[in-house]
């Protein structure tokens, strides 16, 4: 059996699944308990798990993430919410310099099994300080795992894998996906980090996408097929670290062309890393320049019309791919 649920509701279901399974899983963040989260992603958790395990915090991101780290290194498995991924900047030291490095600096003595989940990305007209796609910030940091699901079923399965993982996992929920729906099987769902998915097969070009860019890449692929007879294969990367480079390389070897579809702004986006892997390891298989479709290197504007011309659109993917293949 399966059920059609929203990406939003998948969040609470994923957290509940893991909290039921393991007493050590606790959840902290701003407005997550009584209010059920500002995106209504955590409704019902306080009722089911009580105020000891589901806890509202002050507006103190360093205390939230530091607190989660201290708990994780002493036997708990915390889930911390950073309300908007932009706010990671206010606790970046804890994330990038403490959590990420502790296992290494202590030669494995310290383990930090936690999940930081956060609403990432644009599309809601929230302006430059509440819309950033910062998955590449996390990817840059050795010691962090980085996950970004594109649909409800993946969200639950990857979240479960993240909670069960003994490493710190940055879990990016794309906030524009919250209202979107997807089929989710009944019962426990547990997926695996580091496995990309080919969500549409094709022969002429490989489109590598992530999170909200996956449905756009798929739509573009449909249109490319219909309008221009171009057959695009779409890979949903799902996790940036660990990265399933083999799936990408196999696909590119077959299609001989690559475009990445990235929400992060251009410079040093995750697609640059994908391109650098492909241009090194699949070089001799390539039949066209490697292309990146990204948000241009600008902070995001607030006005809807302006925001719409920054994020990669289906149109832009179609036009760009047509040029690469054409």
């Amino acid at each position: 059996m399966a059920e059609l649920i929203t990406y939003r509701d998948a969040v609470a279901r994923a957290i509940a699944q893991e909290m039921r399974r393991d007493e050590r899983v606790v959840f902290l963040g701003e407005d997550i308990a009584a209010a059920g989260g500002v995106f209504k992603t955590t409704k019902g958790l306080l009722d089911e798990f009580g105020p000891v395990r589901v806890r509202d915090t002050p507006i103190s991101e360093e205390a939230i993430i530091g607190g989660a780290m201290g708990a994780a290194m002493t036997g708990m498995r915390p889930i911390a919410e950073i309300m908007f991924s932009d706010f990671l900047a206010t606790c970046w030291d804890l994330v990038a310099v403490e959590i990420a490095k502790s296992r290494y600096m202590t030669a494995g003595q310290v383990e930090v099994p936690l999940v930081i989940r956060t609403a990432n990305g644009g599309g809601l007209r929230f302006g430059a300080q509440h819309s950033q796609a910062v998955e590449n910030w996390a990817m840059m940091i050795p010691g962090l795992k980085v996950v970004a699901p594109s649909n409800p079923a993946d969200l639950i399965g990857l979240f479960a894998a993240a909670v069960r993982d003994d490493d710190p996992v940055m879990f990016f929920e794309q906030k524009s996906l919250y209202p979107t729906k997807g089929e989710v099987p009944d019962g426990e769902i547990v997926d695996e980090l580091g496995k990309a998915k080919i969500v549409r097969e094709g022969d002429d070009i490989t489109l590598v996408a992530l999170a909200s860019m996956v449905p756009r890449a798929v739509d573009a692929a449909e249109r490319l097929q219909e309008e221009r007879g171009i057959s695009a294969e779409v890979v949903d990367l799902r996790s940036l670290v660990p990265m399933d480079t083999q799936t990408v390389l196999r696909s590119v070897t077959k299609t001989t062309r690559l475009a990445t579809v990235e929400e992060n702004p251009r410079l040093c986006g995750w697609g640059a890393e994908v391109v650098s892997i492909v241009s090194d390891e699949a070089f001799w298989d390539l039949d066209a320049p490697l292309t990146r479709i990204t948000t241009p290197h600008v902070p995001l504007p607030s006005a809807d019309a302006l925001e719409d011309v920054t994020l990669p659109s289906v149109d832009r993917v179609v036009e760009t791919v047509a040029k690469v293949v054409g």
């Binding site: 407005d31 706010f87 007209r125 300080q129 902070p299 607030s302």
Partner: protein, 336 residues
């Protein structure tokens, strides 16, 4: 509270009181309209209103010198308007129009008008406190005599930047007035549930060698007098102040939030302390005529109506604007 309303009111001349009254109504009517436009889908994204909290913006706006500087938050419509920024440009910005103060790139959370000393509305909690301190440092260095006023919410008192900014401002004796608008709630969580002291700002003033100041933020006169004192103190080289102004938002935190998480008793108590009717009565008691007050109210409404029309009729930004203003050359090019 430092003083009762009737005490303090006497020190203020009639013109100022009428100006305060005018501002209260301008802000109230602007926010009511902004709410409606949000519900109508014309304000996109989000918006945070100061309904019920107008007396703070009004009191400070009246006390500031024309070249003084303001730093505020995403809840910044009132603080922007109270510095004399034309309503049209603010309303148009909420609607994402080219004639908005930021050409539609900022939106409700980032209102700015450098020309009027409104140095920005910041949407990351606490971030603007050190920035405001820096602006005050600059005024000190330049000997400009400008005072910076920095507004923030009760929730901001628990973030690190608050602590760093207050300490630096105090040690460097910077001409800055930090104003905590304590409306008892952060988003949907009460400040009392997550804070170690009763008055999240004032009870911490001692950590920065500052005086403990709590005022009635719903009393325009009390706000105006304390604002005047603190600003003069700063202007004369006396250093920063930290003022906690008690207030309440009539509505929810943002967007369409009905604010139902708050106890009805608390809401009722504070609605009864709405600054507008309270101040109206005070002015009537002081001999101002009903018709003068009504004229002010009507004028405020007319201004809001006109601004709404100007905003609705404002052009949409050219799409190319998305790629301007990243760098000083006006563009966004990062390469040759």
């Amino acid at each position: 509270m430092t003083a009762t309303a009737t005490d303090v009111g006497d020190a203020i001349d009639q013109d100022t009181k009428l100006a305060l009254y005018r501002q209260l109504h301008r802000l109230r009517k602007f926010e009511e309209r902004a709410y409606r436009l949000f519900m109508d889908g014309l304000v996109k994204g989000t918006s945070h209103l100061s309904l019920g909290m107008e007396a703070i913006a009004a009191g400070f706006g009246e006390a500031q010198r024309e070249d003084d500087l303001t730093y505020c938050t995403y809840r910044g419509h009132a603080h922007t308007l109270s510095r004399g920024v034309p309503m049209d440009g603010v309303m148009a910005e909420l609607l994402g129009r080219a004639n908005g103060v930021c050409g539609g790139k900022g939106g409700s959370m980032h209102l700015t008008s450098v020309e009027h000393g409104v140095m920005g509305s910041y949407a990351i909690i606490g971030a603007h406190l050190p920035i405001a301190a820096g602006a005050a440092w600059s005024a000190q260095l330049r000997g400009s005599g400008q005072v910076t006023v920095c507004f923030f919410g009760d929730g901001a008192t628990n973030i690190g930047a608050f602590h760093e900014a207050l300490n630096l401002a105090s040690v460097w004796k910077l001409p800055v007035v930090f104003v905590c608008e304590n409306n008892l709630w952060m988003e949907y969580t009460a400040i009392a549930d997550v804070t170690a002291v009763e008055h999240p700002a004032a009870d911490r003033a001692g950590s920065y060698g500052l005086e403990r100041i709590v005022i009635d933020g719903n009393d325009p006169d009390a706000v105006y007098l304390e604002a005047t004192r603190a600003i003069e103190h700063a202007r004369e080289g006396g250093g920063p102040s930290l003022i906690e102004a008690m207030t309440y938002r009539h509505g929810g935190h943002s967007r369409a939030d009905p604010g139902t998480y708050r106890p009805q008793e608390e809401v009722d108590e504070w609605l009864a302390r709405d600054p507008l009717p309270m101040y109206r009565q005070r002015l009537l008691d002081a001999g101002v005529s009903e018709s003068d007050l009504t004229a002010i109210e009507d004028e405020a409404q007319a201004d809001v109506d006109a601004a709404t029309e100007a905003a609705k009729n404002g052009p949409l930004p050219e799409l190319d604007e998305a790629f301007t203003d990243v760098f000083a050359d006006g563009g966004s090019s990062w390469r040759n």
